[in-house]
Point group: D2
């Protein structure tokens, strides 16, 4: 429950922030899709706009004229309830609508949403508006990681910005936090916004465990690589070992061997590996193999949530051992918004925390991010447990 004025500010700030992420781009960068998981930046701009048009303006704005009737087909992502859509892997084949036209679309829809605030906002509308804003924030993170993938897989390795610190050090030194055996409460528990997958609040029993106060660093990960981590099947899931061998994986994503030493592509361009920074762009398979090699393990999402008040987090999304499953008494939302989370609850792993790309106000201790175990283009990392 937030104040109307705050909500309007929140909306406007969010819309602006999306555009500021794109400010350093060339027009060409908005268009391409070098792998199916990545969407072209102009698609993110259009899709986050379409969400407001489809779920808010069409329903709550009297006499609203749709900006372009074809855009629903172009900018729908996966909502089966609202009609046909461009196949995901074809998004990068669309040169039109042009970037200029997409920005016009944004302005048109932003103005129409702002005009809704001229009258009192009813609670249902407010709820959907909040979802729309959080949805756009979620896309801000994807937008940045997709841009990184677009530039970081270009043979010219162009930088995104002159200064963008992706590799901050952890301030604390590593310690093992001791957690007692017992019953813990898990899940969202306030009147602030959350997604349906964080509910309902429920009890879990945890056996005693220890969790590291810090993330694993590049330096530690290099030890694993130098010890032949990628060549020994013993540390890997069968599925992970197949992935390593089929995709010829030898290092985290964006690592390049330059004249015998490892460098990585960062948003500032190609750089030497910073040994003290937390390792990132790992798949779950790699995080798991590293932990096994260390004789340790990944925490479950419950262990993470129970302990999270005792360590600093927010630089890397942290792979957990937990599969993405519904909580007891999980209820998916009605209609198209019900397609947001529940239908992905199979074959995915949970990540907890947040990353340097996560926008302001877009995480919390109960937030559950999820990706397939092979995903590497997010700022993923790991924290050990035992």
């Amino acid at each position: 429950m937030i104040l109307t004025q705050t909500l309007l500010d929140f909306f406007i700030e969010t819309r602006k922030h999306t555009e500021s992420i794109c400010a350093p781009l060339e027009i060409e960068d908005y268009v391409v899709q070098p792998m199916a998981d990545v969407s072209p930046p102009k698609w993110h701009l259009g899709h986050s706009t379409w969400f407001f048009e489809e779920f808010i303006l069409k329903k709550y704005k009297k006499g609203y004229q749709v900006f372009d009737t074809d855009f629903s087909f172009v900018f729908n992502s996966y909502y089966e309830s609202v009609g046909k859509r461009v196949v995901r892997s074809d998004r990068g084949n669309l040169s039109r609508p042009s970037v200029e036209k997409v920005y016009e679309y944004r302005s048109y829809v932003t103005a129409a949403v702002v005009s809704l605030f001229e009258e009192p906002i009813d609670p249902k509308l407010e709820a959907v508006l909040e979802i729309g804003i959080h949805h756009e924030k979620q896309h801000q993170e994807l937008l940045l990681t997709d841009i990184k993938y677009i530039l970081g897989n270009n043979p010219l390795l162009p930088p995104y910005a002159n200064t963008y610190s992706e590799h901050p050090h952890e301030s604390a030194s590593q310690e093992w936090i001791e957690m007692d055996e017992g019953i813990y409460e898990i899940g969202h528990n306030s009147d602030q916004f959350c997604y349906d997958n964080e509910l309902g609040r429920h009890k879990v029993y945890l056996h005693s465990y220890q969790i590291s106060s810090t993330l694993v660093t590049n330096e530690e990960y290099l030890e694993f690589m130098n010890a032949g981590g990628y060549e020994h099947f013993e540390f890997w899931h069968a599925e992970g070992w197949h992935w390593v061998n089929t995709d010829l994986i030898k290092a985290p994503l964006y690592w390049y061997q330059v004249e015998g030493s490892w460098q990585y592509y960062s948003l500032e361009g190609l750089q030497k590996i910073d040994p003290k920074a937390p390792v990132t762009h790992l798949s779950y398979y790699e995080a798991f193999a590293f932990a096994l090699w260390k004789g340790l393990r990944l925490p479950t999402e419950f262990e993470w949530e129970a302990a999270q008040g005792q360590f600093s987090w927010g630089k890397r999304w942290e792979w957990t051992e937990s599969a993405y499953l519904p909580y007891p008494n999980y209820q998916k939302a009605d209609g198209a918004l019900g397609e947001y989370n529940g239908k992905f609850m199979v074959s995915q792993k949970v990540l907890r925390g947040a990353s340097i790309a996560t926008p302001n106000k877009h995480t919390r201790p109960t937030y559950r991010n999820f990706f397939p175990p092979s995903a590497r283009w997010q700022y993923t990392g790991l924290r050990l447990a035992k």
Copy 2:
């Protein structure tokens, strides 16, 4: 811990039972592999034999002569530690060794193992022998389901046996069993044999729930089909919906529409659907979609284990909502045997119970079976919870 004489009997009985499963086959049936998940029967016969040769005879039998040095390559399944092997999907391309030769191999290895009993069995050997026997029992179930797949996908639909009852009715009528909120102990807890994935015994907190005393029947599943269950995306995971549409799924495996009505291939041949028998050969996706359509859900493996004493089970492997993950304090075994379970703990769902194909003594309340969510060729079914 079992008596030596009992162990010998158990070994001999198990070896014989494997062969009795193959008794109705033609030579040709031993050879083919109509999908990658299915192995040719002669491969099962050879592989379960190779296991004893590789892990027992080579180590514990003085002066043991390997039957044929090439067989290690041919009959290894997935043990990376013990060398190269035929690619899984190529097993059906091997006409040699002949079925006759494989039976010779079995006799040779069986006799050599029996001869070990002439001297006292040391506990380490006993432990591996027990694993070898249980390993072969596990393959007995696969052997039967693979035979069913081989015959049931042949356009001639030949029967396997004149009488083989796959579709027994449940004796009890459906009731909801009420389970209280609280802490439950989960995992193996006796000195009998179990796999490493059933350990260690640990506590889980369960919220109150209800679980059905009976399995879902064909009659109930037909209601879902007739209500358009396979045509409505709302009931499906995104991944499941993709599977339905790509593989053109319209019914459980082995169901054929014959002159307008549904029949299924059973080991006795093509038959009318028995409405009161428990539905089987479902994927997890279908089990989940059915439950969602009913407004109910699948139990977790913990809910199942906590309640299992209060209902009858053993006809169908039952899909649960749980992903296949290690228990707290899970320790994988050393060496090649450590590849048995742990390396599959990603992207799989847990099934509980047992099926009409499960051999004698090869299940228990804590047994955790696992398959990818799309697997249908086992005798899989479902039990509802709420």
Copy 3:
């Protein structure tokens, strides 16, 4: 053998024309690659420029500074002799170099080539310059057809230009031209430019045949469609029938059914089919099936060349029955330029003539175009024989 001044003019005119083809594009249109056969327009701009840099400036221009050393990797097409290159199907994943940068590259290289004319041009250089110009002309046709594919597969179907006549009628009425049995001379026979695949001039024996004076029209092709041409295997090669069924082909490329009647995407946008215009965007399979349905056949390339003086041609590339093979005494050129033609002489069909997209001076009666039998995005058509 052409005059130096004429060659300079020819070069400048060709460079300008390439750019004029791109004049109507948005920046975004330069970047995408909706299928592997299509290259992004900016790639054509860069590649035709790289050809001059690689094969002329590096060798003949003293002190020449390469514009950007990475461009060789980005803009090489298939010349194995000159190093590694971007995989063809990844060309559409490259947002950089930007379109602006590619135009700078063009200007830089154009100026450097022009400066070569300040001194006498030696005959070897002249020969390569001529190849470079013809190479660029060849890319002009691909550039236009690739642009058509990029726009014509966009769900918004944007027009390329307000007036671009792709569907001119044939002026003459259909007649059968009678050709006598006998020996004919085939192949290039002048001191003008030709490709190596048009040499050497040689004799072929042709039996008497008749060839149509006109191309097959849309109206005639619609009869085939309405007669169920795409549903009857009898008219198709086995490979063609597989293609029809796998790719769900029901009409020529760019044909869309709009409210029950056929329209096609043209460079002017979506239009009604013009019944009297020659049909285009057919695969060889379709051309062959149409001819078989008519009880007729396609001409061989030799029949076409022998008769071409007696009919008007140049609107459609015309599929022939001939496979693309070397002429007697064919000699491929030395070095990288030898990769131009010979290495494609397997699994391709010959097309003769030219199309509305063929640039000025870029065809002749002996010109041999070639594509795999499934290619449809060129302005392909057919002429019947018997």
Copy 4:
């Protein structure tokens, strides 16, 4: 036109010969299909039988009872006119009908065909009988090469027979046969049996050429291999180079490196390479690359046919430079038999001659065999021209 008694003998001898090829097999060898191009031996036995049942007995034998109505589905190969069929790549998934049942089917059909001879044979029936016999002879060659593939790709490399001479030397020494420029007649020209693709007889003009009197030997091919033939793109078609790199081709099919020297799998088992025997199991790509490396070329099928009376042939099918295309005035047969040849006339190369596996009376100077350029499991070789 052949005498009735001769035709009956020819039929009976052919049926017996097919079975004699299978005599050395184990039951298991009849069932598998290690690549899509290979058919299981029992499929060949059934299909060549089905051909007589479908095209002769159903039509010409009064009151004929089909042996098993399901066999049409199982044993049809590619005749679209006669109904649905098992997908080619699934033939190896069928354990039933059993080998015993297939032999019963053969006996049943053979007896029924023989009984037709009790009455005068009308000319139409005679024509189809002749096709059926030649069809079976064609399958005899495939049967043997498929058996070789089945055994030669088994890791145990079992021999097929104790003596089977696949590698006979050429008796003559190598000479260049000079052929004059001029008009030659090509195509079948007698009242003996031929396939439709050998008609009609027609004239071609050939420029003067030379053709080798002998086939290329293993010794010569090894020189190419030792000179790095498989590592230099210059000798290969683009498509061939892609094939070499994708399929990791380093030698002819069945060549294995054993302790540093090359051996090949022959029907007698693994053997040392015989340097003087003609090289075999080459793709067209390899034959072409070898010729180019030598500074020579392959003959066209017309050059081969014009010269064939002057050299000995029949040990290897010989790749030619010709694509498989219809002759002038080619007419395909009516009905299902019209699917025999014409529909394959795209994307295939012509081979001329015959091989050590070709049955008696199953070739002639005008015989046109054809395979895709990558096919290697036939006894293919090459003869050079210049």
